[in-house]
Symmetry: C2
Subunit: 137 residues, 2 copies
DNA sequence: TATAGACCTTCCACCAACTGGAAGGTCAAG
DNA sequence: CTTGACCTTCCAGTTGGTGGAAGGTCTATA
């Protein structure tokens, strides 16, 4: 299978597949013409990578997961541990974004959004940290 | 004021302040020794940038916000529009992360996490997209 | 057989928003 | 006069790719 077929079947861009080879996640054979030649195993690995990436695992997580995936005597605890750490990162990110959202949606609500220059959003950004928590509503 | 003082007073790393100068967000004067020399206005701008960045605005957003901040005849609608677009990006990111969280926490719950190799997390990652939505619980 | 167009190859540069570190100049205190 | 805390510039690396140029290959059709 050429890279274009693999790209179509996994949904990954060909560029990304080449990149994954570059960083050692897959190692397709080469045909006489120099073209990459992928087998079913390679295809599955790439689909696995695509799915793991879509769940937000980092490339290094993926490397670990792939290794466990191929190790038939793995302990599921090792997989679970990677997943749990990733889950914690997701939690942290969601909290951070939720806090930003809270603050910003409040400010947006307060802003008239008309032709006048007065703007609570800019006021907040310009205020020093100390005076920021004074609730005005 | 030298860069170190500004760093202490704004909470921004000196490296970041130099970077902001590089990309044209601030333009401190220079002393005879070549050191950057910051005035109060520069300090305020940097604090403004730090606050905007902490709310997740991109550097280009910040550039726009800073311009509006300095333009005393601005329309608050322009500020609100930048903020609203950013809010939409935050919303999208939260949704994406929440979906990842949902899927992953479900899988983590299902995984025994012991010494045995059988692992629902790896099973999910390895499954093709078609067979993934079959609920097992 | 020529040629068009769809493949494939490598390599280099770029994105955001910094961060780390090396090599070297400056300044104040003891 | 030296020590140590500053400051300077410049280069490279981070994450996870993406875009594009220059060029080789394959297949179908005229």
């Amino acid at each position: 299978m050429n890279i274009g077929d693999v790209a179509r079947r996994t949904g990954l861009p060909a560029k990304t597949i080449r990149y994954y080879e570059d960083i050692g996640l897959v190692a397709p054979r080469r045909g006489a013409n120099g073209y990459r030649s992928f087998g079913e195993a390679e295809l599955h690995k790439l689909a696995f990578l695509g799915r793991a990436r879509s769940l937000g695992f980092t490339i290094e997580d993926c490397r670990g997961l792939l290794e466990l995936y191929e190790d038939k005597s793995r302990a599921s605890a090792d997989v679970k541990s990677i997943a749990r750490e990733h889950l914690a990162r997701i939690d942290a990110k969601i909290s951070e974004l939720t806090e930003m959202h809270r603050t910003l949606s409040h400010l947006v609500q307060e802003c008239a959004g008309d032709g006048r220059p007065d703007c609570p959003i800019l006021n907040d950004l310009a205020a020093d940290a100390g005076s920021r928590d004074e609730r005005t509503d």
